[in-house]
Symmetry: D2
Subunit: 357 residues, 4 copies
Amino acid sequence: MKTAGVLGATGSVGQRFILLLADHPDFELKVLGASPRSAGKKYVDAVNWKQTDLLPESAKDIVVVECKAEEFKDCDVVFSGLDADYAGPIEKEFMEAGLAVISNAKNYRREEDVPLVVPIVNPEHLDIVAQKKKQNPKAGFIICISNCSTAGLVAPLKPLVEKYGPIDALTTTTLQAISGAGFSPGVPGIDILDNIIPYIGGEEDKMEWETKKILGKLSPDNSTVELISEDDLKVSAQCNRVAVSDGHTECISFRFKNRNVPSVEELKKTLSDYVCDAYKLGCHSAPKQTIHVLEQNDRPQPRLDRNRDNGYGVSVGRVRADPVLDFKMVVLSHNTIIGAAGSGILIAEILLAKNLI
Amino acid sequence: MKTAGVLGATGSVGQRFILLLADHPDFELKVLGASPRSAGKKYVDAVNWKQTDLLPESAKDIVVVECKAEEFKDCDVVFSGLDADYAGPIEKEFMEAGLAVISNAKNYRREEDVPLVVPIVNPEHLDIVAQKKKQNPKAGFIICISNCSTAGLVAPLKPLVEKYGPIDALTTTTLQAISGAGFSPGVPGIDILDNIIPYIGGEEDKMEWETKKILGKLSPDNSTVELISEDDLKVSAQCNRVAVSDGHTECISFRFKNRNVPSVEELKKTLSDYVCDAYKLGCHSAPKQTIHVLEQNDRPQPRLDRNRDNGYGVSVGRVRADPVLDFKMVVLSHNTIIGAAGSGILIAEILLAKNLI
Amino acid sequence: MKTAGVLGATGSVGQRFILLLADHPDFELKVLGASPRSAGKKYVDAVNWKQTDLLPESAKDIVVVECKAEEFKDCDVVFSGLDADYAGPIEKEFMEAGLAVISNAKNYRREEDVPLVVPIVNPEHLDIVAQKKKQNPKAGFIICISNCSTAGLVAPLKPLVEKYGPIDALTTTTLQAISGAGFSPGVPGIDILDNIIPYIGGEEDKMEWETKKILGKLSPDNSTVELISEDDLKVSAQCNRVAVSDGHTECISFRFKNRNVPSVEELKKTLSDYVCDAYKLGCHSAPKQTIHVLEQNDRPQPRLDRNRDNGYGVSVGRVRADPVLDFKMVVLSHNTIIGAAGSGILIAEILLAKNLI
Amino acid sequence: MKTAGVLGATGSVGQRFILLLADHPDFELKVLGASPRSAGKKYVDAVNWKQTDLLPESAKDIVVVECKAEEFKDCDVVFSGLDADYAGPIEKEFMEAGLAVISNAKNYRREEDVPLVVPIVNPEHLDIVAQKKKQNPKAGFIICISNCSTAGLVAPLKPLVEKYGPIDALTTTTLQAISGAGFSPGVPGIDILDNIIPYIGGEEDKMEWETKKILGKLSPDNSTVELISEDDLKVSAQCNRVAVSDGHTECISFRFKNRNVPSVEELKKTLSDYVCDAYKLGCHSAPKQTIHVLEQNDRPQPRLDRNRDNGYGVSVGRVRADPVLDFKMVVLSHNTIIGAAGSGILIAEILLAKNLI
């Protein structure tokens, strides 16, 4: 049993970490960090709990501490749900104190020696950590969870690229859930009722950039990730916020570099057959079926399909030829599970399976 | 004052026709046709009125008749909101009886001698009617209103193609309102609350095909429309139903054939400067501003922008370069106005201005 | 292990029965009945599955039969999710064939020898069945599940009446979820988006009548239920449909006959302390906490509280004095669990615990 | 043409005042006051406009000033949309400077010499102002607009009390729109999607208290309003926030003191026949039909009925006998028109018609 801490424990992502750690077979939640305003209070008194599952009994009485490395020194792993405004120096301090930090914040995603990981997609990027540990077993490190909409996008692409070679053009139009915006205040009700907001600040840029890192390769010495160049992969994202609580839907289309293009049926089989490494490693939360290929015309739908494999599985539907690029399809992923906190938990399970924590 | 009739008067589109004809300066609504079940009743007793505006007093006491040409023989123009299941033979009978039919049904859209018209886009296709009338002044005719989501798509493309030459690749992902599905029963509430349906039967095919007709040219003798070929224009549509009452949002991207591509600012100016012919002709319902180019990042939004120019204006936002094609942008159009019944009314106004009814 | 069948298996309530019976420790689902149109097909092919949980593997391959008693003769218990249009003769045939029928339909609710049961409220009414079985061990019977909104209303009233004596005036205004309307087509999306429907056909009458039966007493010989008279209990219901998927909220107020009225704190304690008989009997689905008394001002909320005790627990909040009657409070119950199919399952568990099936 | 100013011009209520004053025949909007942060900017640059109607051209270029009486000294009437946190001292300063203030804030509603007015209900309370002006023609004054949900509640009660005598018990359960909560941030989307919030801070108390003032009588010298006592009128409110943009629905029931109770038909006729004084005075915004009595079972509905008489008319449906009190019915009112800013405009029109400004 490893000891776990959570940074930003009262926030939206922090609450999800706490839910996912309750009754976890590998991790025991012991330390909760939040703002000085919350520090010193029992968690149940500090938090405005807004999850559809009840606050776990085991977390209620934990006394919240400030986000200082000293307070977390006994943690084998620290999950950070901190806002980007605060995450920078805090996570750095934790890493320098030798702690293992798995962060949902964007601050370090673009550092070339920080793995940006979707655990069902590119766990091999965690070899950067293995390499670091080889040099200094006591070294702390930061691993970044990808942006939520990026996670859904790259999940089905990985097995396709492995089998059919590089994709050189990729478009995605997203219909994103409001839970991704947190809740202080998140998306105002009056903005989302009978409405769409065709803009999410920074999101398109994140998707276009992160895809190139997550699908990139490690450097020969395993010390950094090499970004796919703009010449090799063009990505275009259009992001919308819609009246859905959980579950990001994406309408994507893409073209392979190799013009010997597979058939739709081959494509679907490749997606269905994909088994993510985390599952092979026996990780507790890993989806049995990584990619669910749905055959009904009108699926996937967020309300009906977002919880497949407890939100760790990604659903794909309407796979068909695209008149402009090669293929188009609809992808649905659970934005707070595989797109955020859940991803962090599964990354920790992989680290554990690889003896990196 | 011209005399108008409405077919399918109790349905969703029929109700909209009736609203738009109330107090219209050019048309007086005199005949309402519906199913035999409704025939013989006063309209107010036959209809399950579901519009946000009240049933016009002037229509309440009109006694509904069956959809037979004989009943409409005094009409200068007949607007058809019939379901595709019924529209075929009825509209044909009306045309053969010498009546002018403007139809929202899909049945005759693909006939090469039937104009498929978005009135703010391709009123020149009505020259087919002029040509027909020249040969036989008493000839009846059918004009088809385009599919709702096609209307929003082609509106901003028209001025761009006029100025910068053909577009050869075009993608659109739609977020469509539920009013487009009518209400018997239309989209079930349980399917759309906290959900998206990533499929609308037949819609993608309609968009991909209709775009090629609407942007096509007349034959030299003005007797038919020539479809743009698949080689010259590739269109890819992905259609979704979302929890919005009125207003279709589309995230589109496109590439010009001519590689001497304009700047974003030039593009926006061309869109803003576009004045549709209907407005120049002085048509009552024509939008003063055909294309509203919005500068705020998070616009257009259905709730805030769908009623611009009474729903006859189309809004465009977030015009920007696209990494895969040339440009991408968000288009919003009012699906029951410029995308359906309103389009029919404006077509009739153009016919009137051109002395074709 | 008892053998179970489901009538109306493809409908909304039938689907819920099937979900709740999957992996049930006491019942094995063996027979699925539906319309002749579905009969002969595998269930997976006959159903348009619309639940947020996936169709259980164990049900997929069951071949659907017609709703004839002969087909269900090996069932120890039959759960009926039939529409009222069909339930009457079918359920009667089943009962006469000696089968145990637990029905969600309204058809037999008002028969004085048919128990109308909310299992966390009045399981003692099942003594009618015990009495019947004593006279004829092979006798079939029908037990009716109450209307969904009635279930939420009477749940907190039962412990109060037990402790403080009769309630003589009771008002409830409901905000009901759309899942209660089924889905063929159920509530149209255009009627519920940005809207309320202040009317549910027959619902107010059901609530006002059923409350008087459920809170009524058995006749001395346990053969019938004696309705509370209109003089002894006045009930007024106002029912609304709102944009909520699952979970009926009710704002209730009530007055005790006994004018020695308890304090708010006493009332809350009585509610919290209530342990339903089904839990004492060790029934698998019985809620550990029957009534959750929530202290936060803004609770219960459907999205956050409907799943307490897997939907078998009822939540109560904002208990306070009422200027007009004695007390007012907000009650939330899961309409498809304790208000429909789930209620049926728990009734069967009670029957089993009492050796009545 | 009278000169008008608006306080709190950038807020939700302020924006509505500005919309309603655009093209008003009696008032010319000249001064806009907001926080020091906005002062000095053009209105179009200071405001985050969130209305479904476009920002009026005439308001765009007005330079915003601070909320100081000196800046508004040329205004014949000042409409205040200030938050309660700021309204107290500012409105007092304005009144003392001799200005006529019509305020949507709650701060002075409970002052006995401040009229609390729903203009279609109790314009006679404005006689307090007439009395004040008689004593000092240059005296400033404050008039308070009622709480939004109170407005809908008292509208149908007024004609009933006038005709059948006092009501002594009254209950209301509200289903309130989110626009009433403003938008900085107002109700978070995640709290209202697929959800209800059964609590609105302070609202129930406001409804219970304000009703007793609005239905109260003036003192013999017209200097104050006399509150109806708790003994004479018991009011119980239960307030809920629901997923509706505009339009408060209330399920009310009430009992007359006089036990010679009218029939349902008489009641409906009295409601239909009611013509508010503002309409008799010829006020521009006064509803032609003050109370719309709807006969369809499922009406009023917010989406379909909120805009009757431009939002100044109130709709009543489902009038029927109540088993507990005498009658129950559903009331719908437009919360931002007759429940807030619109009410202020109509009060000003009445003041003008009575030569009080």
